[in-house]
Point group: C2
Chain length 309, copies 2
C-alpha cells in the first residue's frame, strides 16, 4: 500500500502490531516508552527525527535556534509524562557547507535548551541534507507517568498556554511576511519552544490529573490520541490565543481558532483532570471529556491536525 494512504499513524499501528511488549512496559503509543526498573523508578524514553526541508528550512533557522528546538521537542515529551530528563543522545547527518562555527552555535542552543540534562552520546555522519535525531531518557516514580489513556468522563481539559503562536510564526516565515515586533515574537515561539518540564513534574504529583500529552501536531490531532487511548469523547470550546497571534491573524485574514487547533508545534501540555482539582500554575480550560468518541467543537467547525505524510 502507498504510505500516503496508510498514513503516519497507520504505519505506526502496523509496526506496533509486530511487537511483543514485556509485562509492565509501555511501548509505542504514548509520548514516551516506559521501562520499569528495580529501584522504584521508571525509565522514560522518547526520540524525534528532524529533517531539512521537512521540519525546518536550513537558511531560515539559525544553528542556535535549531539546536535549541531539536533538544526541546524531545524534552517536551518527557514533560508530557511528568518525568525528569536524565540524559540526551544526538545523531546528526551533516551536509557539506556547514562548518565548525555552525556546529558550535548548534551545540550552544542544544546545551542551553538541555539545561542540567547532559548529552551522553550520539552519532555523526555526512549527509546530503541535514538530519537530526535526538533521544532523551527521563525518570519518574514507578507507575506515576502521565499517560494518554487515563482521561475520564467529566474531566476538564486544559492547556498550559495560548495556542497557534508557533503556527503563525511558521506562516510568517514561509510566506516571507513583514517581521515587525509582533511577527518576531511569533517566530521566536516557533523556533524556540519551551518544554513544560516543571509543570509536568507538578502535574504528576496531583491526584485527579488523569491524562496528559504535549501539543506537537495541534489540539485537533493530539486530543484525538487522548480520546482514543481513553475510550472517551470531548467537547471543546474556544482555544486560548495570544494578543500577538490574534493581531497577526486579523492583519492577514487568517482564522485564529483554526490555527490554534491545527498548526501544532506549540509544545504546551494538554491534560485532563477532575474539574474540582486545583492546578498550581496558570492554565486555560478548553473543554470537557464526555462519553462517546471524537471532538465536538463548540464553534461547529471541524479542524484537522498536521499530517506528516
Amino acid at each position: 500500500m502507498d504510505l500516503g494512504k496508510l498514513g503516519e499513524f497507520g504505519l505506526i499501528d502496523t509496526i506496533k502490531a509486530t511487537q511483543k511488549v514485556p509485562d509492565g512496559f509501555t511501548g509505542i503509543g504514548d509520548d514516551c516508552a516506559i521501562i520499569p526498573r528495580g529501584d522504584g523508578l521508571d525509565t522514560l524514553v522518547t526520540t524525534d527525527l528532524l529533517i531539512e526541508d521537512k521540519h525546518f528550512i536550513l537558511k531560515e533557522i539559525s544553528p542556535y535556534q535549531l539546536g535549541w528546538k531539536s533538544a526541546m521537542v524531545n524534552l517536551s515529551d518527557i514533560a508530557a509524562m511528568g518525568g525528569k530528563p536524565i540524559a540526551s543522545f544526538l545523531s546528526v547527518g551533516l551536509p557539506k557547507g556547514l562548518d565548525s562555527d555552525w556546529t558550535d552555535a548548534f551545540m550552544k542552543g542544544y546545551n542551553n535548551a538541555s539545561g542540567d540534562c547532559p548529552l551522553l552520546g550520539g552519532d555523526t555522519t555526512s549527509a546530503d541534507k541535514l538530519c537530526i535525531n535526538v533521544g532523551v531518557l527521563g525518570e519518574c516514580s514507578h507507575g506515576k507517568a502521565l499517560l494518554r489513556s487515563g482521561a475520564k468522563v467529566g474531566d476538564a481539559i486544559y492547556v498550559t498556554g495560548p495556542l497557534g503562536d508557533s503556527g503563525a510564526g511558521l506562516q510568517i516565515i514561509l510566506q516571507g511576511l513583514e517581521r515587525d515586533e509582533t511577527a518576531l515574537k511569533l517566530i521566536e515561539r516557533h523556533y524556540m519552544p519551551k518544554a513544560r518540564i516543571e509543570e509536568g513534574l507538578q502535574l504528576s504529583d496531583i491526584q485527579g490529573v488523569h491524562s496528559a500529552m504535549d501539543i506537537s501536531d495541534g489540539v485537533a490531532s493530539d486530543l484525538l490520541h487522548i480520546l482514543e487511548a481513553s475510550g472517551v469523547g470531548a467537547k471543546v470550546g474556544v482555544l486560548p490565543t495570544s494578543p500577538e497571534m490574534e493581531s497577526c491573524c486579523a492583519r492577514y485574514g487568517w482564522d485564529a481558532q483554526k490555527m490554534a487547533a491545527s498548526a501544532g508545534e506549540d509544545y504546551e501540555l494538554l491534560f485532563t483532570a477532575d474539574p474540582e482539582v486545583s492546578i498550581p500554575f496558570p492554565v486555560y480550560r478548553i473543554g470537557s471529556i464526555v462519553e462517546g468518541s471524537g471532538i465536538e467543537w463548540a464553534s461547529h467547525a471541524s479542524y484537522q491536525g498536521f499530517k506528516h505524510f
Copy 2:
C-alpha cells in the same frame, strides 16, 4: 573550520568538551553511555544513524537486510559493553516510492535481528532520502560494563571472528563483480552482521578481560580508540581472514590484510585480556598491548580505518 578538516572524531571531541557529565555516568567516548541506577544495574544506551547513499545503496540492499542491519549495528554496541539489550527505538525518514510491502519487509528484518529486544518507540516522517536512526537500551550489573579504557600492558588482543568479509562483500557490490557462491557469502556478511551479544555477556563475567569494543570502522581505527582510552600501545600481527575472503582477494588482487584491518563493519568484538585467562569460545589472538602509543603492525604496513567525513 571545515568539518572535513576537523574530522568526525574532532567534532565529537568538540561536542564532548561542552558537556558536564554527572559523577558515575559515562558519556561520549565508548560504545555505549552508562547511566547508573539504584537497583544494582547500569543502563547502557547507544544510537546509530544510517543514511541512504552514505551507509547503504537503497537499490542494492533488500528491505529485510536493511532492517536487520539497522538493528544489529546497535545491538553490537550493547554486546561490546557486555550488556543485555532491553529495548530499541527506531526513527525513519521515508522517501516517496517506498510502500507498505517495503516497510513490512524492513520491520521483519529489524524484528528478527532484535530477537527478544522489543521496539518500544520511535518516529516516522517523510524524507528525500531514506534515513534510519536506531537507539538501543541495554543493562548490565553496576560497574561491570566492558570499557575501552581498561587495556593493560601485557594483555593479549583478541577478535571474535575473521575480519574483512564485510569489506570484501561491499567491494563486490560497489564494483558490480560476479556473485558466485563465495561472493554471496561475503555480501551476506556485509548486509547481515551478527552482534556478539552472548560472547559479550560471557566476557563481562570474566575477571581479566580488561577492555572491549566492536569493530565498525576496522581494527586499524577501532583499536586506536582502546589504545588512546587506556594510554597504551599495541603490536599487531596477522589478522584472521576467512577462506572466502582470501579467495576473493586472490581473484581480484586485493590486499587481504589491508582489507581486514581497514574496511570495517565486521561487528566482531575486539577485546584485550590477561593472556593467562581462558576464553570460553573460539577467538583469534591478533597481538599484544605494549607500553607507548599507537599500533605497530608486524607486517610493517600502515593501515587506516574508515573515515566518515
